[in-house]
Symmetry: C2
């Protein structure tokens, strides 16, 4: 059935929004309502849903485990030993928990990098949101291990058949310090043949830059360009440490950068992300939360606020990353590179949107809806979420959320044993 | 009637909490419940409420008005011309709106700096939380204007009679760039005679430091010490720019520093706040949000998270400001200097606490309750708030909140005319 959202605030105007199938069919005041499911939104504003461009979604089960530790100690004693316990059921419920949190905080699409993709895909479909699921790949920086990587790709061919409106797949070589140049080149060619995105970590810490300079005489960005891994179908998570030449390469190749402010701050990677320089050079900048093991939640509203605040603080310039740019970074800039027609509430676009409750302190007074949403509010204002034309949340409640949390608690106990 | 909170998670143990009058009378499993108001908290954790140590609470009405502008343009065109419209009714409802937002985000006490203190005081009492209300004072950096300041103090003597369990008062010379040294000295002596706190802005921007060095050959901290304005009854908001000698002076005098990370970032003041150095020197570090005109909300949970993340990011050290320290900064460190026995959920303390809903994604799984509260959750988990032994919120709803928001919207229209 079509959905008619009545009398909602959109771009500072009161209007109606008609959703037909999975698209926004019409935006206009006083649309005829016969035969539609009606949503009275007179106390609400419609806003685009977020696109979280860098996650490791099943790691939601690690939330808050091993906070405030030095990076290597955290990985060696808290994360890696327990990841050996992963299985299909843990992945399924961990992914569902992550999807639930995303729905409750206003996100309908994420770009992931992890393992057990068929189980991740099933969970995403069951929850009704969207994902691009990247297969994590490593060769231990030794191209002789390429045959092992190829074996994983054989299995991945079957996974590709699961592609639909909700789930796509990507190729995710982990990082230049775990994957050799030749394997990057092989994987990028593989991805391009199948029109898949390549999603990788890059230039996350000063140590990583120092090491690629030492080993190859190149920055991480230069290194990936050399191995032909950068083009408009590459998305690069972190990029905290970039030279002027790196930024030029990113602009020339058309690669997309994903900023993960919360993770970069919490793990002590640093706050050098050169947002204004990247935008000036014409690079597509997107936003992610990273996994809950490193930054504790999947709340894109909070990540957008922190990104904006830190850019203003580090440049001593309150005009950097104004609210419209910040919201684009968190929505449509990501959707664009994923090839999904969402991230704006406009006629013809896919019907992904949230309705936020304006009768809340954060929207009182409401001089500026976007500002109040990103800078003042939190998820408590998100009343309704629609993805692909389906209502997934009303009254901040998702059907079945209690079972998901119960199962996730069980899975976390099985996952975390040391 | 006494309140008995049954089966609540406190410091990782299930227990009961008995509140008698305005204090926590007993914490123990299986307390007898006869004759008490019962709260079944089996799905909840008890946590201390926040103490917001730097606000301009009626400015909540300016929320989101003039974002992303250069500082002077924002003050000259958006704030100061409209502040001329302030009146008693605007202050009353603006303060109530701020108190409502604080209750919904887990704060029961704030230290303010503004005008129209009797109306602020009435609103705080009507809302049932606590405040230390500082009278903003200026002499235009000209000690010849001291007689005008004294006239304001004459009126203030009557305001002091409004002191009670919920409201105290303080003396708030604005900043070294608006108040002369001799007037600071006069006001500090005045405050000390009456055992009032002195609450001032200090060392907020590099420009302020440059100017006091130029005009007096002293940093802002050295300047205030010279005029005898620093002792253990002084609270200093911002302190973004501190020299090693400044930190030593703060430690020697016992002054309290209030960090306002969101404001410092959003206004482009900078992220130089030297948290670890201050703590190492023994300075009492507390936390504030600043007014909603500069940082958009009064959410201390978010401010605590951002403080912790930025300190880790700026020092490249994930172990800086671990979660227990972060929470102390946002709770008991402030309560201590205000002389209010709150900020910890312990037997004998004042009964100020929140109950957070653990059956939420942010607390799933719950490896670490404090970490999940500060790093993962948001105000949507705050179910119940108790202040001074009275329940002010249940089910995230405050009685009368709809009227407060309606009145605040009217007041904002009257306040903001240019």
């Amino acid at each position: 059935m079509d959905i008619l959202i009545k009398d909602v605030l959109l771009n500072d105007q009161r209007t109606d929004i008609l959703i037909s199938g999975n698209r926004i069919a019409k935006i206009s005041p006083n649309i005829e309502s016969s035969g539609c499911e009606l949503i009275n939104a007179s106390g609400m504003a419609a806003l685009p849903t977020f696109v979280n461009m860098h996650t490791h979604i099943p790691m939601t089960l690690f939330r808050g485990y091993g906070d405030d530790l030095p990076l290597q100690q955290w990985l060696n004693t808290k994360i890696w030993p327990n990841e050996k316990n992963l299985d299909e059921e843990i992945i399924y419920w961990g992914t569902k928990l992550g999807c639930l949190e995303m729905i409750k905080t206003g996100t309908t699409c994420f770009s992931d990098m992890y393992f057990f993709l068929p189980q991740e895909a099933q969970a995403v479909k069951d929850m009704g949101i969207r994902a691009v699921l990247g297969l994590s790949l490593f060769d231990g920086c030794n191209p002789d291990n390429l045959p092992n990587v190829k074996k994983e790709l054989e299995q991945f061919e079957q996974t590709l058949a699961l592609t639909d409106d909700h789930v796509q797949f990507a190729i995710s070589p982990h990082a230049p310090y775990t994957v050799s140049g030749p394997t990057y080149q092989y994987l990028k060619a593989y991805a391009n043949e199948r029109n898949l995105l390549l999603h990788t970590h890059l230039a996350e810490t000063q140590g990583e830059v120092d090491n690629t300079l030492r080993d190859f005489g190149l920055t991480p960005v230069q290194h990936l360009r050399k191995w032909k891994a950068l083009d408009s179908r590459s998305t690069l998570a972190h990029c905290v440490y970039l030279s002027d030449d790196d930024i030029k390469i990113l602009a020339d190749t058309g690669a997309t950068v994903t900023h993960n402010p919360n993770s970069n701050l919490k793990l002590g990677s640093g706050l050098n992300f050169r947002y204004a320089d990247l935008v000036k050079a014409g690079v597509n900048v997107t936003l992610g939360t990273d996994g809950c093991s490193s930054s504790n939640n999947l709340d894109m509203r909070e990540a957008t606020k922190i990104a904006s605040l830190v850019q203003k603080g580090r440049t001593l310039e309150p005009t950097v990353m104004p609210i419209g740019e910040a919201l684009d970074m968190a929505t449509v800039n990501g959707a664009k590179v994923l090839g999904i027609d969402m991230g704006r509430v406009t006629e013809g676009a896919l019907a992904d949107l949230i309705l936020v409750n304006l009768k809340t302190p954060a929207f009182t007074p409401n001089h500026n809806t976007l500002s109040n949403w990103i800078y003042a509010a939190d998820s408590s204002v998100v009343d309704t979420l629609i993805c692909n034309g389906k209502v997934l949340m009303r009254g901040h409640h998702v059907d079945g959320e209690e079972e998901i949390m119960e199962q996730a608690i069980k899975m976390a106990k099985r996952l975390i044993t040391v």
